[in-house]
């Protein structure tokens, strides 16, 4: 048992010893300890180095507000968690903890030279110093800042752990299981509705955990707590969640709870959930987050050993740990006296209570006298001594001018209390200034929510319990024997004889912001508290200003010369405490990050060695390399095989929409630029869709199944937006039309068969359709059977060859594909992927929406005026096509390009100019949209949008590249079989 562990105190199990290491050194703690409490039990206060000045730091608090004692927990490769508060990390056998932001070690830190030169690091230091020369940023400043101002280590490997995310619902969500939260749950549990009670700590109880001897309704608090939690655990409608932090409070009572499942477990198994994000929708939210004690801002208030009075009380009451042998108490609030008494009653010497105030409550003076504690009124600590741990302080009495050096190995301070408004603030609840508390407290709610207990400004256990019971719908008034919580005095500036420029009085411990910095910011003209915050970085560290915001506000308001309530509070933002990316990700990593949609034929492609490419959510077969082939070789072979004999292609990803109803043709007339009324049943037509702005939005072949039924196809990536576009117009602009839309993309597997032997291949498998060229011409469709299953068979071609698109119900797709592929061996059938599809269509000059168009290309620009009806009175986009800009001469137009060197394949996206020798920036005429090697033509081909392109036929243009300039001739964008004779295979 270590010297600082007090037998009989705390809730830890002293009989269960736990071994852990801190910076490689072995320590022993006991079951129930945090890293901080265990280190303190070993007499070790030094736990970290500060962010900017690398000053040695110990714990300031005992919980989630802790700004100083940040550690990295090392569980092996990829499993190092940085910036964990030592005050909240429970120890377990074998825990490996490391301090941060120090080099080479915590006791001797090279970075501490920043401290010696701190006069060069005032507020706004980064903004002022790292301005120029500009070239220094990458090489000097940024590496310097990154090196010096680091917190924990960044991960160096994939995180192998598993995280979860779930949705949940309840009528009442209670956040914080201190006396207020527990009383609320007890009352609310009675009505049978679903209640969730969460607490961030391992044990529920809040302040009751460190004050077990206080009596609630005549029962010891410890006993009351045990009975209450047992009753709640038994109630079926109550869910109790410990080690769970409410990190964010969003609209309509949507609250994110981050649960740490195995953070306290030794050798937690990889592959089991480590943290879970609970996304809770609550009818009502009861916030019982408690309050946080405020530090006093005095010179040297950051020396290890200086901490909040309530923290010392918690270390003693909850962990049975004394924070020192001889403790000075420095306060401006009554509550520190009870802390001092608790510490004294555990046989720790109190060097003195130094109170800023001149008048002190009689019962407190009496309590001190009884314990032989000296109280120095109207005094302040003006200096602290000691290098890595405080060993003395200087007490200054302004009235007499006396300065006394007082030996102590710890200083407990209390500057009053701040209600914890973080989640209330997330919910956009109103706040108001409470002059008595010198703090902001909740005002009108913005959601169905209520704050109770200390976070509502009602301090003390009895007050919390009664407020809790009321919030839960009960009426009970609780009685306790606690000392009156009392009041305090808030001072922006403590008495000191030292010039303020000589002092290091910290406000924000984590970001190293001092009183001086805040005053400097104000004197430099930053009057808004939001500007002061950003300029000084006060409250912007991972602790979100939990201990610093009110002090900073107090100092700033004095410096600005405005009352504090006029200065306003800065906004708290989620997350309440640092939350891992794992928690936010939940299950959604790797294969669950986003769905990968695969066609029914995809397994065949995978088994046959396809290379894949993503297209939207889909993965599509890109090309089918044979052994030793690269993409270029594979695509050249696939193109040739298709043009020579037969290619088979999986087009299942094409979007499909069934447009049905007596007004179907009318609706199609409005949605597409083409005319549809005269398209005969079983006819097909290429459809071009505009948005109302007149630009090309999508395209695809449409088949008319019946007078009142169209089978519409869209581009693969365009399916969702086209469906939305159509639904929008149908529901909101044309609701009088009797027509309905059904997405059928996934109903059909689509197998495209192209090549001179296409008809021969399918003939033996087709029933009920006459395939002869005369009775089944190009751009028509038939219904019948193929391979024994129903089909919608389209005779269409996106390659220029004789082609069929075989639509079959999706779950028969693979069977039909495999049957045709087997039969196709007779014709050297070649499976091809999207790359070959692109080459074959480019050879024919067919556009790809989104590749050859970019949302600023009209049908006319694309050379497709033929697809725009001149006769229709109305279609979406018609009026815009008459806008002056869209009918202007010289717009960018789609043309073909043939490079002078036929072997040269242009880069897609390359810019095109007239004169390559003009000065930079050059006048760009346009850019290359599609470019390929055409095996069939034995040369390269390209499409491009070029200013006034239609009038440039035969011109030679230049494409400047980093190493050369490529010359290319403007041609019509149809490179292969311009007359379309290859479709007519008999």
């Amino acid at each position: 048992m270590s010297a600082f562990r007090k037998t009989g105190r705390g809730r830890v199990d002293a009989s269960k010893v736990i071994n852990f290491t801190f910076d490689g050194k072995s320590y022993q703690g006991v079951q129930g300890d945090t890293v901080a409490s265990a280190l303190l039990a070993n007499g070790n206060h030094l736990m970290g180095r500060s962010f900017k000045y690398h000053r040695p730091r110990g714990v300031l608090g005992a919980g989630w507000e802790e700004p100083n004692a940040l550690i990295a927990v090392d569980r092996g490769k990829g499993r190092v968690t940085p910036n964990v508060r030592a005050t909240t990390q429970e120890i377990y056998e074998g825990l490996k903890a490391e301090s941060q932001n120090r080099s080479p070690n915590l006791k001797f830190d090279m970075g501490a030279f920043n401290n010696a030169f701190s006069m060069f690091f005032p507020a706004g230091f980064y903004n002022k110093t790292f301005m120029w020369p500009k070239s220094f940023w990458d090489k000097v400043y940024e590496p310097f800042i990154r090196n010096m101002a680091g917190l924990g280590p960044a991960p160096d490997a994939d995180d192998p752990d598993v995280y979860a995310s779930v949705y949940g619902h309840c009528e009442t969500l209670i956040i914080g299981a201190g006396p207020a939260g527990i009383a609320a749950a007890l009352a609310a549990a009675k009505n049978g509705e679903r209640i969730i009670l969460v607490d961030e700590n391992a044990q529920m109880g809040g302040s009751l955990l460190s004050t077990p001897s206080i009596e609630i309704d005549g029962k010891p608090a410890g006993k009351w707590l045990e009975t209450s939690l047992k009753a709640l655990a038994k109630a079926e409608n109550v869910t109790l969640m410990t080690r769970t932090t409410a990190t964010g409070y969003y609209h309509d009572n949507f609250v994110a709870l981050a649960e740490r499942i195995t953070h306290h477990v030794p050798n937690a198994e990889i592959g089991k959930v480590r943290e879970a994000l609970h996304r809770i929708r609550a009818g009502k939210v009861i916030l019982a987050q408690g309050g946080i004690e405020r530090p006093l801002v005095f010179n040297g208030n950051d020396r290890p050993g200086v901490m909040l009075a309530s923290a010392a009380q918690t270390y003693l009451g909850e962990y049975g740990v004394a924070v020192g042998n001889e403790v000075a108490v420095f306060t401006s609030h009554d509550s520190a006296y009870q802390a001092a008494f608790d510490v004294a009653d555990a046989n720790t010497r109190i060097a003195a209570i130094i109170d800023v105030r001149g008048t002190i409550r009689d019962d407190l003076i009496m309590g001190a006298t009884e314990r032989g504690i000296k109280v120095i009124k109207s005094a302040a600590i003006t200096k602290t001594f000691g290098k890595l741990r405080v060993k003395a302080c200087e007490v200054y009495e302004p009235e007499s001018g006396n300065k006394t050096k007082l030996n102590c190995d710890a200083i407990l301070m209390s500057g009053g209390w701040t209600p914890s408004l973080h989640l209330w603030s997330h919910s956009k609840g109103g706040i108001k200034w409470d002059a008595d508390l010198a703090a902001y407290i909740p005002d009108a709610p913005n959601e169905n929510a209520v704050c109770i207990g200390a976070c509502n400004g009602d301090f003390g256990i009895a007050a919390a319990l009664s407020a809790g019971h009321k919030a839960g719908g009960g009426r009970k008034t609780y009685k306790t024997n606690e000392t009156d919580f009392g009041t305090g005095l808030v001072l922006s500036s403590l008495p000191s004889y030292l010039d303020s420029s000589k002092q290091k009085a910290f406000v924000d411990f984590q970001n190293d912001v001092t009183e001086k910095d805040i005053k400097l910011a104000v004197s430099e003209g930053f009057k808004s508290i939001e500007h002061v915050k950003r300029y000084t970085t006060n409250g912007m560290a991972t602790d979100q200003g939990k201990t610093s915001n009110l002090n900073a506000l107090e100092i700033a308001s004095k410096a600005v010369g405005k009352p504090i309530e006029k200065v306003g509070l800065t906004t708290f933002r989620p997350p309440y405490t640092p939350t891992t990316f794992g928690t936010f990700t939940g299950y959604r990593d790797n294969e669950l990050f986003d769905p990968t949609r695969k066609t029914p034929i995809d397994p065949w492609a995978e088994a046959n060695g396809a290379a894949f490419e993503p297209v939207g959510h889909w993965r599509r077969a890109w090309y089918f390399p044979k052994e030793g082939e690269d993409m270029h070789a594979a695509v050249a072979r696939e193109c040739k095989a298709t043009r020579d004999s037969l290619g088979i292609f999986d087009a299942s990803t094409l979007g499909k929409i069934e447009v049905v109803g007596p007004d179907a043709a009318k609706f199609m007339n409005l949605m597409y630029t083409n005319p549809w009324s005269k398209l005969p049943v079983l006819g097909c037509r290429y459809g071009l869709m505009c948005r109302e702005d007149g630009y090309i939005y999508d395209d695809g072949v449409v088949g008319r199944m019946a007078e009142d039924r169209f089978h519409v196809t869209t581009t693969t990536g365009g399916a969702p937006r086209v469906y939305r576009h159509m639904e929008d117009y149908l529901q909101t602009e044309f609701p009088e039309l009797d027509v309905w839309l059904t997405s059928t993309t996934e109903q059909w597997a689509v197998i495209a068969i192209n090549g001179p032997n296409a008809r021969k291949l399918i003939e033996p498998f087709v029933e009920g359709i006459d395939l002869s060229a005369d009775s089944f011409p190009h751009m028509t469709l038939r219904e019948g059977k193929i391979c024994g299953v129903p089909t919608r068979l389209f005779r269409v071609s996106f390659t220029g060859e004789l082609g069929f698109e075989i639509n079959v119900p999706a779950h028969y797709g693979r069977m039909v594909w495999e049957t045709l592929f087997e039969e196709g061996q007779k014709y050297d059938i070649c499976p091809y992927g999207t790359e070959t599809m692109h080459v074959l269509r480019a050879e024919k000059g067919f556009i790809i929406v989104g590749q050859d168009t970019d949302g600023t290309v009209t049908a006319h620009d694309a050379g497709m005026s033929w697809a725009v009806s001149k006769k229709k009175r109305d279609f979406v986009g018609k009026r815009s096509l008459a806008r002056p800009d869209l009918v202007a001469e010289g717009r960018k137009q789609l043309i073909g390009l043939l490079t002078e060197d036929s072997k040269e394949v242009l880069e897609e996206g390359a810019q095109i100019v007239e004169d390559p020798n003009q000065p930079i920036p050059m006048d760009m005429l346009g850019h290359v949209t599609s470019s390929y090697w055409s095996e069939s033509l034995g040369r390269s081909i390209a499409m491009a949008v070029v200013r006034d392109g239609f009038n440039r036929m035969g011109e030679t243009l230049n494409i400047p590249m980093p190493d050369k300039v490529i010359k290319a001739k403007v041609v019509k964008p149809v490179f292969y079989d311009p007359k379309g004779e290859r479709l007519n295979v008999v």
Partner: protein, 181 residues
């Protein structure tokens, strides 16, 4: 193999408190009807089309659910298909409406057991308590990135459908949840 949904259910999804099964072949139709015609169409087709949005009638061979103000889905055992094809062709002819065969568009999962609602709530944001989501309720909603159709068929059983290419995503999600808990 003729009919192939290309989804295999791993062993881990066959436990006592939770069983996920892949439904076999089904006949499915999307019906878009004018409200004035619904009762006549019910009579003509024999389909128990629910009158209320988000309602479902869950029979032995045929399930009907109303997903939108004028939209129903019919999910039936494939042996019913010839009969339904015929009946619905007649409806199509006699009424101003839309009937579309979507038999192969979806795949269906049966999710059963004490933990069924819990599993669905991993990715579905709706309140699945019996009070808010009683037996016979049917909605189109989301499971994370996948649009789903969800019908509660009894206290501990759900019928979930999605478009076929989202099936493996849901299956993988379910398997991850079960194997990592």
């Amino acid at each position: 193999m003729l009919f192939d949904q290309a989804i295999d259910i791993p062993e881990c999804l066959n436990a006592e408190a939770l069983t996920v099964s892949l439904m076999g072949e089904k006949a499915r139709y999307s019906l878009r009807l004018k409200s004035a015609d619904v009762s006549a169409i019910k009579k003509a087709s024999g389909l128990k089309l629910p009158a209320k949005i988000m309602g479902a009638s869950h029979g032995k061979d045929v399930t009907c659910a109303k997903l939108g103000p004028d939209e129903w889905i019919v999910i039936a055992d494939p042996v019913q298909k010839p009969k339904l094809d015929k009946a619905l062709a007649k409806v199509s002819k006699d009424f101003t409406c839309s009937v579309t065969d979507i038999s192969h568009r979806n795949v269906g999962f049966g999710i059963t057991g004490a933990d069924a609602a819990k599993l669905i709530n991993v990715g579905c944001p709706l309140d699945l308590s019996l009070e808010k989501f009683p037996v016979g309720k049917a909605v189109r909603t989301l499971f994370e990135s996948a649009s789903i159709l969800l019908i509660r068929t009894d206290e501990q059983s759900f019928h979930m459908e999605c478009w076929r290419s989202f099936g493996p995503y849901l299956r993988d999600f379910f398997a991850r949840v079960v194997t990592t808990r």
